[in-house]
Symmetry: C2
């Protein structure tokens, strides 16, 4: 389901480093070589390349990339180079420190909490506290007003059971509880959040099915019918990230592309964070919803090395 | 601060296993040998002994201990043999499945959440879901009524920053928030729980100091003045486990010993879970509060192999 393409025969980390080093030397940078190497290595290969680079040249690869590249291309490559938990910790921190803390910024925290494995979420929390000298939850509390704060803390604190164990009777009764809360429009109710943040993903999908069967609308529709505020929007993101992450990520890419100008940060985030997970599904979902391929949409809205790099991660530009 | 005494020269795991195997053979069991070996090995040594035993005899050491030992001695040795995260996961599950779910039972969950390292708490949550096919939080929600449920879920979901970083201004303002909540007697208020479950332990100690300085009473006194229910009691346990775990554990041992009969399960739990952590401080605290040593209290209330084993863990019976 990943779109990242790693060659059958991967050069040694030393060879990769030498190629990168060569790309940085002389006048200008050979960006194509950077994409050729880093755009086709998985997370553990990239980590080893970073370590080998440090050993060989006594320099930090990220620093060199920072000095040699520029613009959105630089941002994308560096985000790609970080170890995934560190990358997500940095994205969360950036969201919490952004001036505008709307759903567009804060949804990355929901993605980390609801569209990642439980182990990854813990690894992000560990990376966060190492990098920023405080827990992710503390920083949410300091930076996000209620009731969004309560929702986010609840979601990032979860450590869901990760196996497919489903109890249909519980799904039915919890669908009723969720419906009750939605009817009263108290979306930050403890019952609501505890179901959403403690149940395993398979159980929740079953609960959402029961919800639709028993009450007509899907739960995300009913949530959005409660109002047009940030609370409704962020809960809809949570439901989508749990139920079908590809739907959420296809929607974020669509929103980043449509209209005047492109939201490069969001586009980069989706492609970088999902290329090794479920980007194939995101592309399929994108095509089904928009009747055009994500590849052509990205080509239409981006250019140069940035475009080439994204296409490499999308598995198109091999 | 641990009381466990490991000999300077530790026999090889193979020698330890042979000694245990010999203790199990023939008529009756040589309990003294079991204590001599297992009562003087740390957690990682015990784990290796368990693995080696399995390799040498194709039998599970825990099964053999179960068959060879009996009564409180057996329960204590087996609790001691589990890897600490698995042990705590089992203790939490036992509490959640006990018929009576009062503070005496449920406080073990607070101990795990507030008197352990953040990493240990995560390891317990991982062990719990592997052992019991659901998350610890889910089982709390299924088994504990509100508002205790909310407090426990909030505490076990924490992943506190583990370094000594303290902000005195925040301590002051959060002491005021806590005081406000206590004044209104709404002890399950979101503000109260989010401070208690997200701040690092050093920061919280500072907050409790500010509380006492600014409002006269200590925060645990003020909590207990709100009422005599389970909510007040469990929050007092949380405060003590954060502020001075030795105070809490000295109190639990005292309560397990005083009066008619002994609460062996609680006594065992404290000595087994703290022998490798801070039992020396617990003993000191016990002596200061009760003007008698914990050792002599244990000797007065227990007997036989059970007593010998506890005394070994208390560092007295070498």
């Amino acid at each position: 389901m990943a779109t990242l393409r790693v060659p059958d025969v991967v050069p040694s980390p030393r060879q990769d480093c030498e190629r990168l080093r060569k790309a940085f030397q002389g006048l200008g940078t050979d960006e194509k070589a950077v994409i050729k190497v880093l755009g086709h290595r998985n997370a553990s290969q990239r980590r080893i390349i970073g370590e080998t680079y440090q050993q060989l040249y006594d320099k930090c690869l990220i620093d060199d990339l920072n000095a040699e590249l520029s613009g959105d291309f630089r941002k994308a490559v560096i985000l790609w180079i970080y170890d995934p938990p560190e990358r997500d910790a940095r994205l969360a921190n950036e969201a919490l420190n952004s001036r505008r803390k709307g759903v567009n910024e804060l949804q990355v925290i929901v993605e980390i909490a609801c569209a990642s494995s439980p182990h990854h979420l813990i690894a992000v929390r560990q990376a966060y506290s190492i990098l920023f000298d405080s827990s992710l939850e503390e920083d949410i509390i300091s930076n996000v007003p209620m009731p969004l704060q309560k929702v986010l803390v609840s979601l990032v604190s979860s450590y869901r059971y990760d196996k497919n164990v489903v109890d249909s009777a519980i799904a039915n009764s919890e669908a009723a509880k969720l419906h009750e809360v939605i009817k009263t429009k108290k979306l930050d109710h403890d019952d609501f959040l505890s179901i959403l943040s403690t149940r395993n993903v398979f159980q929740l999908k079953e609960t959402f099915l029961h919800y639709k069967k028993n009450y007509g609308n899907s739960i995300d529709e009913d949530i959005l019918n409660c109002g047009k505020g940030n609370l409704e929007s962020i809960l809809k993101v949570a439901i989508w990230c749990i139920d079908a992450p590809e739907k959420h990520f296809a929607e974020v890419t669509r929103a980043s592309i449509v209209g005047l100008g492109t939201d490069e940060d969001s586009l980069t985030r989706v492609i970088v964070t999902r290329a090794e997970i479920d980007m194939m599904k995101v592309k399929k979902e994108y095509f089904n919803t928009n009747k055009t391929s994500l590849d052509s949409a990205v080509i239409g809205d981006t250019s140069g090395d940035y475009q080439d790099f994204l296409m490499a991660l999308l598995g198109t530009n091999v």
